[in-house]
């Protein structure tokens, strides 16, 4: 029985590796291009793996002006946004999932409605509003803008996760005499951990890769984010240095992967699925 289970698991492992290869191929292409010398990038026959890898593109990318400043700005903006939005959205999601109050449906409509707005139309008026409050060309203006778009999503998603947790668990614990806060800390939070992780990863990536609002709101290159920094690689009227762009993109992807590896360890992907007692 055990051996059959192990064989089956190996079979699934093989399938998963195949899926991995197919999905990751474009990323592999980006990374391998970052190491290719220029003539191999545009050659007629595509080279899968350069035999003469070069790190020239990476050095060129790091030495492009304001790289480290923009890394710092991106980290500040994104971490602040993620921290605030997870906390604030979680609280709002609890209200939606566990309480009945008038105006509830209106709030839900608001939350989902905001996400349906085409963002392109909001750029100009948003800039006008923020300019009035002197929030242009400062990181806080960008954080507030990102919060506006990320919060509804986080509320919506966390509510979904909350609804998946049966209410009787909490009620049983309360009957046993624990306080509301105790329920929160000992039962709700651990069960919500996977959902919180998934939502925070989404919030991280969305804000990390956001471009147009950062572009419009931040003028000084020392204040810009990494995505804006990246746009200088392909924003000239001359030729685009593909090697440098691929190297730069690889660099911007690294913090995301690090963030994911840090949070996933705590919760789901390290453990076997579903450690909940029924």
């Amino acid at each position: 029985m055990k051996r059959q289970k192990r064989l089956r698991r190996l079979g699934w492992d093989a399938v998963a590796i195949l899926v991995f290869v197919v999905m990751v191929f474009p990323v592999f292409w980006m990374i391998s291009t970052a190491f290719k010398p220029n003539d191999q990038i545009v050659s007629v026959n595509p080279t899968w793996f350069s035999l003469h890898p070069t790190i020239a593109h990476f050095t060129a990318a790091i030495h492009k002006p304001f790289f480290w400043d923009d890394v710092k700005n991106s980290l500040i903006i994104v971490l602040t946004t993620v921290a605030i939005s997870i906390v604030v959205a979680f609280l709002a999601a609890i209200a939606l999932a566990r309480y009945r109050f008038s105006g509830r449906v209106l709030f839900i409509v608001l939350v989902i409605g905001i996400q349906m707005l085409p963002q392109a139309g909001l750029i100009i008026p948003l800039y006008v509003v923020l300019a009035r409050y002197h929030q242009v060309n400062v990181l806080s203006g960008v954080v507030i803008t990102y919060l506006t778009f990320v919060l509804p999503f986080c509320v919506w998603t966390l509510r979904g996760f909350l609804l998946g947790i049966p209410k009787d668990l909490e009620e049983a614990a309360m009957v046993d005499g624990s306080t509301r806060l105790g329920v929160f800390l000992k039962i709700l939070l651990p069960l919500m951990a996977p959902g919180l992780v998934a939502t925070s990863v989404f919030a991280f990536i969305t804000t990390w890769n956001e471009y147009i609002f950062a572009r419009v709101l931040l003028n000084d290159q020392a204040r810009q984010t990494l995505t804006v920094w990246l746009s200088y690689f392909y924003g000239t009227s001359r030729h685009t240095d593909w090697g440098a762009l691929m190297a730069a993109s690889t660099l911007t992807a690294i913090p995301v992967v690090i963030f994911f590896l840090l949070v996933q360890r705590k919760v789901v992907f390290g453990l076997t699925a579903g450690a909940v007692r029924g």
Binding site: N38, D39, V42, S43, V44, P65, I76, I77, T80, A83, I84, V87, V88, L91, I123, I124, P125, Y127, V128, A131, R132, H134, V136, N137, V138, L139, S140, V142, V143, T179, R180, L181, F184, I212, R215, V216, N219, D220, Q221, R223, S231, Y232, Y234, G235, T236, S237, R238, H239
Partner: protein
């Protein structure tokens, strides 16, 4: 009580941390005397020293003032300009903006720029500005944008392949070039090899033929735009283009000049020559850099040049700026003769005819054409009217006459919109 206070405490801590982290940048407020300049990233990578010199000149002429140059990218600098105009200015909004010469008319017509006519005399060489650039900075007889620099189109070619094909002298007429192209094709029958790589819908190149034969794209007759592509001369030009393309280029007939980039095709060894901006020579690949040179594209009349599209940039002062005079001063410093000469040394075409040198790029600019300075020209470009016309002509979907007539009518109706 405990729960509520913990919630409040959490929020307070997180908010406080965020406020501290994000607004620390705001305290470094710009000093009251800062001139904000928006230049494109080409300047940052290409000639930062020219910018620095202009800033230095400005700052010494106006003590107490600093220049803050913020580099923009071509993709969204107009979107940023729109937001600044909508907000009516405000701190940090630009006093000088760089505009592409095909982008200015729409903004001039809307009144986005300050009138610089009174300062015209103070700009160096203003009497001799290149007409293609000067036209793009003037609207209703008033000056709104100052020419900055230009670029034309040249032929970049492989000296080794040309000599191997027995071409001893560079072609000085379209007919001669066509003959040479056939020689090159005979000697290089690799699959996909183009004697002259030209993308099918490269209208920047194709329209040169139209102007070479005396035709045009559109002209204003008593305030109303009239399409000129259907005129006999324009059609002669389009026919000449079709013949040249068929003899010389194996590129796709329906894709544009960036899919793929001509210099990539050249670097792969699949082109003996290509037509494009002079900076194309940067990216021909290590192995061909030594055998790459440039010459001026010949017209159909022996000894003349084919009119080349004059691309370039102008500098304007948005109406939202509160430092118009100082902005004009900065532009004066940045387009001074010494500044223009420095730009010229970096391979650009300076903004005045009396400064022109003898480089291939500048010789090509002697005969140039420009798009109609109409408020709605950008709509014509965006609607791909010219590109579609070329694709129809080259694929044979329509005859030259039919395609030209349809495009001509189309352009007129777009330009005549209110």
């Amino acid at each position: 009580m405990k729960r509520r206070s913990i919630v409040a405490l959490l929020l307070a801590v997180v908010t406080a941390a965020a406020v501290v982290a994000t607004t620390s940048g705001a305290t470094k407020k710009a000093t009251a005397n800062t001139l904000t300049v928006w230049l494109q990233t080409d300047a940052q990578s290409g000639w930062p020293d020219v910018v620095a010199a202009a800033n230095q000149q400005f700052q010494s002429d106006h003590p107490g003032w600093t220049v803050n140059v913020q580099y923009q990218t071509w993709g969204d600098h107009l979107q940023k300009l729109d937001t600044v105009l909508a907000a009516g200015g405000g701190s940090g909004s630009p006093d000088v903006v760089e505009m592409g010469n095909t982008e200015t008319t729409k903004y001039m017509a809307a009144g986005a720029f300050a009138n610089l006519s009174s300062s015209k005399g103070s700009f160096a060489n203003s009497a001799n500005w290149l007409s293609g650039l000067a036209k793009s900075g003037t609207y209703g007889g008033k000056l709104y944008a100052v020419p900055y620099y230009a670029g034309s189109r040249v032929v970049t070619y492989r000296t080794d392949l040309f000599s191997k094909a027995g071409i001893t002298a560079l072609p000085n007429s379209l007919a001669q070039y066509t003959v040479d192209a056939r020689k090159l094709a005979a000697k290089n029958n690799k699959k996909g090899f183009s004697p002259v790589y030209i993308a099918g819908t490269d209208w920047y190149f194709a329209m040169g033929f139209v102007f070479d034969y005396g035709g045009g794209i559109a002209t204003q007759v008593s305030g109303k735009w009239k399409g000129l592509l259907s005129s006999p001369r324009s059609i002669a030009g389009l026919n000449a283009f079709k013949n040249f393309f068929n003899a010389a280029s194996r590129a796709s007939k329906t894709t544009d000049e960036t899919h793929p980039n001509p210099y990539d095709v050249y670097a792969q060894g699949l082109a003996a020559s290509m037509i494009g901006p002079s900076w194309f020579s940067c990216c021909v690949g290590k192995q061909y850099t030594g055998v790459t040179k440039q010459f001026v594209m010949p017209g159909h009349v022996k000894g003349t040049a084919m009119p080349g599209f004059l691309g370039g940039s102008d500098l304007a002062v948005p109406v939202t700026s509160s430092n118009t005079t100082l902005a004009a001063d900065w532009i004066k410093d940045f387009t001074s003769t010494s500044s223009e000469k420095a730009l010229q040394a970096k391979g650009n075409i300076p903004n005045a005819t009396n400064l022109l040198g003898n480089s291939v790029n500048e010789r090509a600019a002697a005969r140039s054409w420009f798009v109609p300075t109409a408020k709605h020209w950008v709509d014509v470009e965006n609607g791909n009217i010219l590109r579609n016309m070329l694709a129809q002509i080259l694929t044979g979907k329509l005859t030259v006459k039919e395609a030209a007539q349809s495009a001509s009518d189309n352009i007129a109706s777009v330009l005549n919109q209110p």
